[in-house]
Symmetry: D2
Subunit: 366 residues, 4 copies
């Protein structure tokens, strides 16, 4: 099995290591005729760029994207869209020491067992920089969804024990606060928590929430390719995610049926739900209400605090991992979650067009 | 996209509706030469059979499996294994009324929007009976894993707010208690809760946990086909699951890095971890310790309590769903979770054999 | 890799051995709402049934198909369609001797090398009976194509050196002649050739041609999933096929560009081609004219004539393969070729609906 | 369905248009630890480079490849290998006129019907330059096959009616003659034919043959992913190919079984075949003898001779296509066929390792 290709109707193949020459993605199966400008993609990549606030690593990464194929005279052509970001600020010398031991919380040991060796520079393929390709692909998918009136929007729900207050939710804050929280007050408290973590040479986890609005009912395939199952795959595949939930998520395990069921009601001759415990998905198929996804991120494993571990010679050693690491990955991961959800939504939206024989007959009879 | 085929090296194609003639699965890509007896599969199916305790529906389903292909003289042949279970006790008349309205918490509305109509008998393809094929396939995968010393074992962790006590964990109870809880005391309390739900014509949710032991390090593909991502896909695709977590799961979002990182340590010249917050997976690749997965199930949506909903004529109505429904799906879902985890584990274990050039050269040079 | 699943939007999973309990197919991804009766499928299977003429084996196989899922109240539901044919007339004792040696022209040796052993009864999975699942799936795909005015029709073009004369082409003969030739005179000569082969305890090869009419331009994906590439895969995967050609096929290698190029011309304000050397496919995409595919079949390898071979003990031996074998597979293979071409055409027709952004936006905006 | 990703264990995603910024490929799933130098790939690309003889276009294309990821310290890492070739000599002005009409023998009309418009510069995605990615991927696969003693070698079998004489077959000529023919005399006659074509402003077709030696028996999956079926898909997906055959190919349709069957014989305690009409594949599985594949190419459709066609305004017009076109594509296509065959062979070789349960158990028990 190959592990760097994702999607069915739209396939994205990501490639690149943290300290290689470049990273990128090939997006195959994207439909023709959508206007696409480099700035559509760049603005997504800028949201995952570090160095813009104290919440992130001081590393500077320009991450300027280039479109190498699949766009002609400003429009997608229906053929593979190849996107590339060159690595410019990588300092490989930071990592030479790491080659000799297994960093706690990292994939180093697994990689060595799997492949016999690894590109140890900055995590290589398991670096957070791997997500550049995902975000570039997500930007394109988001744009097409927008043209259909479907909006995918992620934000930071919590950092450590600081959670947003729904009553203070202000969407525009997502792009303005350093934590990507929609609640400016929670953002302040979260920034204080992050400062404290940095002082303590430690890191902290958090929660990203993603909401999809405007999605019609009927999207998602009934058994293995349920909308929530495909999204769970996509979101759990983001490096530091340890849990994924839909709607009320883990809480439903304590509910009674009469609490959890969302009652249907007619509203202006359309079917709606009074509540949305289900997070917009029933039996794996969208029900026309808002889709709600939450991803739980672990704290950044690279910390300067002293830790015990072992080296490749089989000795117990102590390490302190220096370098320019994010004290929390969540603010930069927001756009990654959003990108993965956009890709899955578009992919299943396309599949859904093929669900009825009459749609196919109608398409070709016209 | 088709939604009823899952897996890469081993593909299972499930088929069948709740009240159709039969349900089944075709397992393609399963390796040749493993001894396989019908009882290996039947004992898995018996674990999801209803009617054996007050925790489940009084419906009687024999669910006797037959092997139609892929086994010759007691051994798998390497060609597709076709397994079938005939429907015998289905009473379609129970469901005629349901055809006219959308049951809250069910996929009825989504199905109608997607396909234009639906097989309304007992949920059709979105019935829990759809999992028969999954469990039959899982039984076969489990057997091969066992022959390698790898064990996949799921159990009920919680029903409603009744959770097991790890100190009272006794593995043999899993197959003995009506709730599939390994803690006999918790089981009793859970049974009381279930009784109360039934009296109140209501239902309740719960949590299934699955553990994989004996899995070597190196299994899982680094980017999209991470071990946890593939498992999240598989487990979230089970009807009533609303959240999936690995290791400490949602809790990690509140941890600091120094708490969450599992330190490596040498033990008898092998690399081990002192703790297992990670649930045995780092960067999507197994690290040699126990894999821990949890699935959160919503309460059974079919309840006899009166609920508001709408019918196909667009009228607001009140319904009370009678029929022989489980007050909680969790005890019967345990083996479904176990089956999906077994399939994913075996599939990625097979992929991992292809990770090193020297393995391939070595195989063909011998 | 698993080898018994084919298709992308529509996936067919075939299963079953020549002398197992049954054979069948699961068709996943077929759209909902098409009327489907068992007779739609049975009439296709009857075309591959032996025992109806001197051109085929005297074995009697009823091959009665049953629909186990995916059809409700006479219509496809959009969920997997499971089709089964029970084995009834198989006589396993015919084959006990074969287990000990490698039949020339058969896959016996490859199977043993690959899997360590094989189901030797009647060829097991490599038997021509494997195609039952393909034909059952093809019947369904053909029906939907017909509803769009697209017709897939295969026939016997040649048996040995007896080829049809285009001027005597009469379509209705395809279903009437024992050879499935549209030219009744060629059919007579072919039947004489077959008689002679039987007398000489020998067999003969032949050519099946398939034509697809009514297919709009634009079907096929430009690079690897070209319409002709996918068809070549599908047709070459039929047991005895050794060559596949499109349009003028092998002959084009001797043409000049000025001969081979089909000139475009306006006809009633639509673009047409004056000639069709290309067989309706340019650059892998349909051009609106008739699709022409030819499959070249080798002679049946099972012959009663004495042959040299080796046995499993590594001894050189002589064998004479008795049993009820077709002296030529072509007449029964016609419907297999037609079925595979129908599946590929429908699959790519569905993909093509997703080629333009405006189609997707239009579908969801309505 | 997306059309620019091919392979199962090893997936190659090609991208790029004739006159875009660059072309390339991402190879995912390639095993770790193989030494790989840029020259291993460049030497393959140089074989498809034009401008080196009168048999090819006078265009100069440097086609210098760069490795952007997946190789570390001279070895493959097991993660995606991204390869890029920048476009340097493209002159877009040559093609402005072409935008307005449909070139006979080209995919222009199909592209417009499918996507609504096309990148008309030099054929865009349907240009022969698309094969750059295939050849770069094939070079890598070939290298790993070589390390196992498996050799994939293609050559020009015929150009127009000039065919090689097997008795004059000298392998080293393949890389020395301008036509890539192994028979130097045939090469001379072929060059004369090509000259004549150029004078007449015409083009000609030809045949490429590919042989795989050293492949063990057992490779190929029995039903849809037969070795020959996957190769037929891969080879037919090369732009100008109109027929693919295995072994004696089309000729077998006229054979009797007694002629066509290859008898097995013991030779030094290993099973061999006396003849090889089957081209090394029986029932889709390799039998241990040489694999023989032939691809029939049509003449280059771009010719300077006057042709009739239609333009986008629906007018009948006459055109003469100028530009620097190959009078025959075959010599440059040799390495493309070889590359596709190498990829398929390696992909199925990897699958075959997973055929027996004992292989998997043995791998993990060690």
């Amino acid at each position: 099995m190959s592990g760097s290709v994702f999607g069915k109707n739209i396939k994205m193949s990501t490639w690149g290591e943290s300290h290689g020459k470049a990273l990128g993605v090939v997006v195959d199966g994207f439909p023709a005729g959508m206007e696409l400008d480099i700035s559509d993609i760049q603005k997504f990549l800028d949201r995952r760029k570090p160095g813009t606030s104290p919440a992130t690593t001081p590393r500077k990464e320009d991450d300027a994207v280039d479109i190498l194929s699949g766009v002609f005279e400003g429009k997608t052509t229906g053929t593979p869209i190849s996107l590339i970001v060159k690595n410019t600020s990588q300092r490989s010398q930071d990592y030479s020491e790491i080659a000799q031991y297994y960093r706690p919380g990292h994939a180093d040991f697994g990689f060595d067992e799997k492949y016999g060796f690894r590109d140890y520079r900055g995590g290589g393929r398991s670096s957070g920089r791997e997500t550049i390709g995902r975000v570039a692909a997500g930007a394109i998918c988001s744009k097409l969804l927008n043209e259909m009136g479907i909006k995918v929007m992620a934000f930071t729900r919590a950092i450590g024990d600081v959670e947003i207050d729904e009553k203070k939710f202000d969407e525009k804050n997502i792009l303005l606060t350093p934590t990507a929280m929609p609640d400016a007050e929670a953002d302040k408290r979260a920034m204080e928590l992050i400062s404290k973590c940095k002082e303590e040479m430690d890191s902290v986890g958090g929660v990203v929430e993603c909401r999809v609005t405007g999605l019609p009912a009927g999207v998602g395939e009934p058994v293995f390719d349920k909308l929530d199952a495909v999204i769970a795959h996509a979101v759990m595949s983001i490096g530091a995610v340890k849990a994924v939930e839909i709607g009320d998520g883990t809480r439903v395990s304590k509910y009674h049926g009469s609490e959890n069921n969302d009652e249907f009601v007619m509203s202006d001759s359309s079917v709606e739900k009074r509540t949305n415990h289900a997070g917009g998905i029933l039996g794996g198929i969208s029900d026309g209400s808002e889709i709600v996804i939450r991803a739980y991120f672990k704290p950044t494993p690279s910390i300067a605090k002293t830790q015990n571990t072992v080296n490749k010679s089989g000795e117990n050693i102590q390490v302190s991992i220096h370098g320019r690491h994010d004290p929390v990955v969540v603010p930069r991961a927001v756009v990654v979650v959003e990108s993965m959800c956009a890709l899955c939504t578009l992919d299943l939206l396309m599949s859904n067009m093929l669900s009825k024989a009459e749609n196919i007959i109608g398409f070709y009879k016209k």
